[in-house]
Symmetry: C2
Subunit: 532 residues, 2 copies
């Protein structure tokens, strides 16, 4: 036990009181990676909660510039250490060192942290609203300590220690307790050490960021129910997400979940006719990229029966079969994927290619897989046939006509994305109109002629959607500053003297940066007194 890595609680790296340990595994070899990590017990959780509650008190009187400086400093440190970080993450996740990790995900991560740093100072995210005649003013303000639970598939951009939820919760003024993902503890540890440096050099209250690598579900749910915790942000599996949601719901605290999504793609007849081959290439690339381990992987494709559709399917099957299954993040991902594929097959889907784990020494992988089902068959078992298959797998639903396509869409649960491909000319216009209305209500982001895999960090992005893709359809997990609103409570001030108001609600716009809604007009200006 002496070489077990310490947890980071209340600004100190200290021995976990948990007795269980775990190690990361290199998915490319199946071998354990040196470095023992602790599975925290309740004592660790309790100490982290207590320290976070104290940190929140301090943070409420800490200037926003300190939080902002921390985020910028941390972004700088991540970039300065990009090489080592990417190398470590690549070993733990089997995701490519470059360009994926070093040149795409790390820059995205530091960019997100810098956007959060700006938004934190600017204050526009909090939507300050002023009724000058009645002297009623309101603003979204920090909620309290947030537990951030990151997923396995983005060791930086969604890591609990550095990703979008981390940046948003912190920039909104909340202390963060990070629950690392057990598949990449060494990466998370490196990030935490950089965060720790950044905290020390900027003077943020030490317990503003804390780290536990792992914990039992019991301790985790107890922590979530604890009144010292204000909110939870989670990205991961539906089953874990629903347990967390149930616990938060009972405790009456806001929870933001990103759980599962099959990301329906409708390819209309004109598009298939016009550019079936190109679409097969585009689709295959998107679905197999990163071994298909994206929340927005196109896992469910609706096609109208035709010879062109058969050619498209044949083309995709060939591409999937020609490429060896990419290495997966972990054995649990492979096993879960195998179970999901079996479940979908049992519900009537026909296997066109793939369908099995790759036997390739210790490497953890699954064959690139395509399944197929008719519209009628889908409609007989709509629930099982929209099981998420997380990995390089997709299912084609071949419908007789657009009416059947509508019926299929009507049975879909909530998804993060929905995509419609149309011809470049107007021949699909009428079909588009028939598809878009039912699909629109089922998804958070509607795309046209573009695979859903990319999730741009844009102020207009919605990485969210109706249940069960998330827990609330009004919020996005990606896109600063919109994603910050999740971590604010609406706080109103009624008849409060100017000098007692938060700076951002005073007559004078503190730095002239915040957009404020004053008497119905958005402005970066000051409150103009009616008397003036």
């Amino acid at each position: 036990m002496s070489d077990t890595n310490p947890v980071w609680i209340d600004g100190k790296w200290s021995k976990s009181s948990g007795v269980e340990v775990f190690l990361a595994v290199d998915p490319a070899t199946g071998l354990e990676i040196a470095g023992q990590f602790p599975k925290s017990d309740w004592t660790d959780c309790d100490q982290a909660l207590e320290a976070a509650a104290q940190a929140f008190e301090t943070l409420q009187v800490t200037p926003r510039t300190v939080i902002s400086d921390f985020l910028k400093k941390y972004a700088d440190l991540i970039e300065a250490n990009a090489e080592a970080l990417a190398k470590q993450a690549s070993q733990e996740s089997a995701l490519p060192f470059a360009p994926r990790l070093k040149d795409v995900e790390i820059p995205r991560t530091s960019n997100q942290l810098r956007l959060a740093a700006t938004a934190c100072i600017d204050g526009s995210w909090s939507q300050p609203t002023i009724d000058s005649a009645l002297n009623i003013r309101s603003v979204l303000s920090a909620l309290g300590p947030v537990l951030v639970i990151g997923p396995n598939n983005f060791p930086f951009a969604f890591n609990g220690m550095s990703g979008g939820d981390f940046a948003a919760a912190l920039a909104a003024g909340n202390p963060v307790i990070v629950k690392g993902h057990p598949n990449h503890p060494n990466t998370t540890k490196m990030l935490a050490e950089l965060a720790s440096n950044a905290i020390q050099s900027t003077g943020l209250p030490p317990a503003t960021v804390q780290l536990l690598y792992h914990m039992s579900p019991e301790s985790g749910l107890r922590m979530i129910a604890d009144r010292r915790l204000a909110s939870v942000a989670f990205t991961g599996s539906k089953s874990a997400g629903l347990s967390i949601k149930e616990t938060c719901d009972k405790a009456g605290k806001p929870v933001y979940l990103e759980m599962s999504s099959v990301n329906p793609v409708v390819i209309l007849p004109g598009a298939i006719e016009e550019r079936g081959e190109a679409l097969a290439e585009e689709f295959s690339g998107s679905c197999m990229m990163g071994a298909g381990q994206f929340c927005t992987n196109p896992g469910f494709v609706i096609l109208c029966a035709s010879s062109k559709t058969e050619a498209f399917i044949g083309n995709v099957v060939q591409r999937f079969g020609a490429s060896p299954g990419g290495t997966l993040l972990a054995a649990s991902v492979r096993d879960h994927l195998a179970a999901s594929v079996t479940c979908v097959q049992k519900a009537g889907a026909q296997l066109l290619v793939g369908g099995n784990a790759v036997e390739d020494g210790g490497r953890i992988a699954f064959q690139n897989t395509v399944l197929r089902v008719s519209g009628t068959e889908f409609l007989n078992h709509p629930e099982a046939l929209q099981t998420e298959m997380f990995g390089p797998v997709s299912m084609f639903v071949v419908v007789e006509d657009l009416l059947e396509a509508q019926a299929v869409i009507a049975q879909l649960e909530g998804n993060l994305t929905g995509t419609i491909y149309t011809s470049t000319d107007d021949r699909d216009d009428s079909a588009y109109q028939q598809m878009v209305r039912p699909l629109r209500q089922k998804v958070g982001r509607l795309l046209n002629n573009k695979m859903p895999t990319g999730v741009a960090v844009s102020l207009a992005m919605n990485h969210g959607g109706p249940y069960p893709s998330t827990g609330h359809p009004g919020f996005t997990a990606v896109g600063i500053p919109a994603s910050m609103k999740r971590f604010g409570a609406l706080q109103c001030y009624d008849n409060v003297r100017t000098n007692r108001l938060p700076e951002i609600l005073q007559d004078q716009n503190p730095a002239g940066l915040a957009w404020r809604l004053i008497d119905g007009q958005w402005t970066q200006g000051d409150v103009i007194s009616a008397k003036a």
Copy 2:
């Protein structure tokens, strides 16, 4: 059964398939009011859900002007019938015909409907957000059918058929199924008939508004769980609210609840010294107004022990005792109040005045009541001693010092409002700072030197707060357009051609009215293409 009032489903006034009936009671006499109303069974609920789902389809392609015209026309009709409406509501609620109902609540209600009509056309509520470089655009869009369940205490301004939730849900583009409050069915019926006229004269899809007067909890919860229903807005008791919340949570649908609140008021020593008598008058008036039946009634007053505090308490007790208990809304309110007062007494509170139901012929009333407890006693039983006592009742918590006051505040659950009274000079400034930070995090609206009973319809209002005062701390139930955001799903468009975008997201601002966040700037202008 032949004279049972019909329900309003799918644009038709039709016989309910429920077999049970009920009548309203005049609380001033305890006598039943003529007019039988049906308790709907599942068949009614199912039909309303089906019609609402269809109406939602139509509503999505109905111009916003039609919804807006309906809201304006309905407001006009309510004003034109104010006299008769107020008379009916006064009989059913015992609330004063004037000024309360006719001159205050009805104008507030029609004003709210008109604000919603404007917001519906304007579109700013939906926060259209455009990233012009990436062509990613998002907007809050209608969720789907909303069940609006109004409370007993505002027969107009919070009525499911005419109140804030009704106006907000509808103006956001959602069909509304109204579940009337069984204490005032005749008022709700009159409102529904006016709404029906307004629908006919403006051409809104007939099932956009539907009415069931009552239903069993089983049918209600089945309706709430049904996938055709998108969301629920509820104002009422904590027990009913928690059942609704549990059902919505399980179904993964957003629910907006306004449940209970004791509305803590801290009166600091300087304020008591400076104007104790005036405060006693102000407090007593606020607490006894409308027989104390406000969500924001000041039911919990924290005072520092002193001779001035004793004088204040004595003054209030005299005022409460000198005035006969106002007539309550219903026998159930009286009985629930009696039970709550008993519960608080059992937990250690001392009764200073009142405490019993008024025996006054058939009139339904409860004595104006003041209880008292020490800080120490409160801290021994903090849960029971913050039981909401809905009626003309308040409890004084007399603390030894400010530290004890902080400890009391730390034990409070989430509340809609929190108030601090201070001296007009600066002698309470330091005490204010000690109180405000803990109190701020517990409440949705912080007031200074003003009773919380008034809830202005202001764009900056927050009639919301941390759990269990509501179900989500980020939203307000009062204040157009902010309250409309509850009934929107965030819908993003990625790489969608201009002519396929909703009007409000196209480059040209449709009517130049909507405030849109374009590339980080709020503007009422058009998208300026980078190429231009």
